[in-house]
Amino acid sequence: MSSVLKTEKLCKSFSNGGVQQHVIKNLDLEIVKGDFTVIMGASGSGKSTLLYALSGMDKPTMGKILFNGEEIQDMSNDQLASFRRGNCGFVFQSIYLLENQTVLDNVLTGALIVQKNSPELVKKTKELLKKVGIKEELWNKYPNQLSGGEAQRVGIVRAIINNPTILFADEPTGQLNSASGKDVLDIFTEVHKNGQSIVMVTHDLKTALRGTRVLFLRDGNVVGEYRMKNYGEDDMKERRTGLQNFLDEMGW
């Protein structure tokens, strides 16, 4: 399996009142194509910071990030933006739909920066929306007219519309009730089954069960890794036990 994302001695620090706070410390990491990588850890362990650095939304303080072999850590903000267009999709905990745009326009705003407008693109958008359960009558609604689950599903469609190399997700079910959360996770599983590489941050066990690889982060570094086979309803008990044991071992 080929590596799509790799970090070498990655560091990220923040200055807080003149005091340097090292959030990521000399982190070496490799994400393989087709993997569903879940990053777990306690609050403040650097999960989100790592995700933003890996996706090119934030610059590391030191170290390298190789995306398909290309170094991205020294890119300017605009170069990083251009890099993100085709390579990264992002699903946020706070969903972050554009409040002033309709459902359809929210997705197309993401799509049209990469692809030229075409009937095929619009058709694909509508099909994806249908596929994640967003009915046609909702397409021209605004985000505040949607439920949290519906909004997050729109967010996922927006993230995957450009067929990104990696789909990043930061606590995608954090603001959803359990039923909506399950629907969203099912979509992630579905997307992954179609070959999409995913990197997801979560502190929720149920969410982590959907991954194929779980990395445990502590004090800015990966202190443990647990591998699982592809998600299936039938082996839930086995997956839960294995992951629970791993997390216990990590001091979760």
Partner: protein
Amino acid sequence: MVIHMKILRLSLFNLRKNRREALAIVFLSLITVFLLGTAVTNILGMDNTYDECFRQTGSFMNSLEFDADVYRSLYRDILEEDFGIEETQKFDQLFGISVNVLYKSGEKVGYNIQIVTQESERKLEDFVMEDSLSDDEISELEHPIWLPMAVHLNGGFEPGDTFTMIIGGRDYPFTVAGIYNAGLGNESGFGYRLVISDRDYELLRNVFSEQVCLAFDTEERFDTDAYIDECEARSSENLSSNLSAHTYWSEKGNETNFVTLFMSLSAVLAGVTMAASVLLIRHKISNDIEDQMQQIGVLEALGYRSNEISCSYIFEYVITTGIGSVLGIIAACAFSPVMDSFVGGLMGRVIHRFPEVIKIIAVAALVVAVTTLFALLKARHIKKFPPVVAFRKGIKTHSFRKNFFPLEKTGNSINVRLAFKSFFRNIMTNIGTGLCIVLAGTAMMFAVAGWDFFKDSDALLHCLGIEIADERIQPLDGVDAYELADELLAFPGVRKTMVTYNIEHVSVVGNRSETFAMVYEDFSETENIFVSEGRLPEHDNEVAISLKRHNTDGLNVGDSITLEGDGTRKSYVITGIVPAMGNNGMNIYMTDEAFLRCNPNARPNVVEVFLEEGVDRAEFERQITGVYGASAQDAAEADSQGCTLEDRIRSTADAQMATLISRYGVTDIDYAIVIGDQVITGRSSGFVIKEMNSFLELSKTQLEPIANMFKVFCGAGAIFVSIVVAAILAIIAASNIRRQRKDLGIMKSMGYTSKDLMKQLALSMLPTTVVSSAISIVIGSIVYKLFWVVGFGCVNNPNLPIMIITAILLVVFCYIVTYLAAGKIKQVSVTELMTE
């Protein structure tokens, strides 16, 4: 009290957070208070300032100037007996129209001048010296001259400099002995009063027209028309063209008109800035409320009343406009000497006064009060948002808006599409922004149109409504003006000659305002007289009137008007309206046949000469002198220093003849002088020309400083408005970025670059700036035309292509400023934008 302190802290926190916008509002307030304070104090204080300057000269308030040959002692008696004037001073003066004066720079300019001796000057006023040579130095001067302050300010003459008048191609050099503060005789229209020695006065008596002056004081404006009527009734003489009244009120009007005009324009600029600031603050409060809606909800939930939260916004603007106003007060006071110098330059006087701090503070307080009021009206909207509504980010987010420009139909550029979506989404905000730009844009269009007009310093000449001949030649009585015109036409370099009458006064029956008749045989040959309505007169029962008379008297084309000339009343039909600035805009245009109907005894007495392009006027005058001899005035003064005895005798005889002709109206002289066996004979037929002057030069002298001042003012105004527009747009852009920062962050996360987003922001302003600029052209044109019609009685259409180019530049400027102001996006990372 504690709550208010907390609210104040909240305001200060917001100010620190949005430092740039706060600074921009401080700047706009500073400019508003500075301009408005300066304008208001100058406009309100103009009367006192002028009165103080005038009082210090100790001048009489009125001076009636009679042509010496028509003056009767009866006229003084009438003043004392019929008009109750107790003290009258009588003195003589010389008067010259469009006398060429050599500036220090070598430039030749035309001045109307009055010349008096020191004794006469002291009869009129105190002869207060501002600067002068010492008595010893003055006593050594051969030809000393004392200049009024206006000539010093305009021409830059200092004591000790040479002041040269050129008459009939001959130089009359004087040495400036001093600069004095003149009450009357300190402006170009009525003429500058120059004081010279008795000896020089005697010498120049033969060169200039002589006048007898009566100076006296009155409480109210002196009724010259009633006085002339009375004098004419009792003396049976026509005085209207032989008497000019020069009063404190007329001089004050002439000197302060342009100061008031400039200050009014400054006040308009200040008004534009203030209106823009107010609209901007409303826009910003609206954005802030929307942006901080959830925070408002939290504060309300914590028990803060909506009034108290509104106060936090109001405090913000009270603080910023307060600081700006204080700085504006300081600037207005600090620049007061500069403004005094500017105003003094326009008035032709030196102004010494303290800044009117109280008035400026009152203006500043007004600015803060108005701003606070508008901020209060907008901030009260918080009442509409109880905590629960505020938590949900207000009603706005729950409205079901129309989706303009759906992305499904995006063409080539997503950025353009998103920009236009944004424009329609914020339509109300954009209307507010558009109003700001329309206000500023109108001021800019006006300034640019003005600058474009005044960049040609001769442009004002075309608004005079008077023919501007290169040379205006008055032949001696008895000389046929038409024959002379034909002869002059044969001179090389002469393009055209026209015969007319010396500017004649006629009266409009039922209206006492002074009226000047512009008389030509055929108006199709005139070059500087145009109608804005109707046509120029062609027949003896037709006249055209000036636009000012049309506006003030309500006379229209087709109406009748009765004119009285030399005691004869005739009715005429008005055929046209002529925009005219000249002669205070009170002209009547008529053919010579029409003129003769009400002035049956008049004879044409002026030949106007129009030279070809590039022909030197001085050279032409030399040619004229070579053929016709010097003008009678000039010859009368010429040196009697020929080479031979015969030359000297002829010269002296010519001078004596010229004196008789020019001063006593003698028309024909023969002489024979016997010296030993030699007889020297001569006759006056060699003298043809009584007087030569250039109306063109005089007009240029009077109009050029005004044109230059306007040009500078308009240029500075355009730059100033650009700065205001830039400040407005920078604030709007910053405010929009803050309001949309989350959306911008989301878009950055999707891969939109900072440049994409900057372009979107700039493009989203584009429809507003395009529409506003187009509206500015229309309103700017109307305001510009009104300015000329109402202010000067002439029609001056703005240069439309220039205005269109300005509008395009304004749009481009707005785009660039917004784009650059949006550069703030670059400094903010995606995560910061989303989670700030």
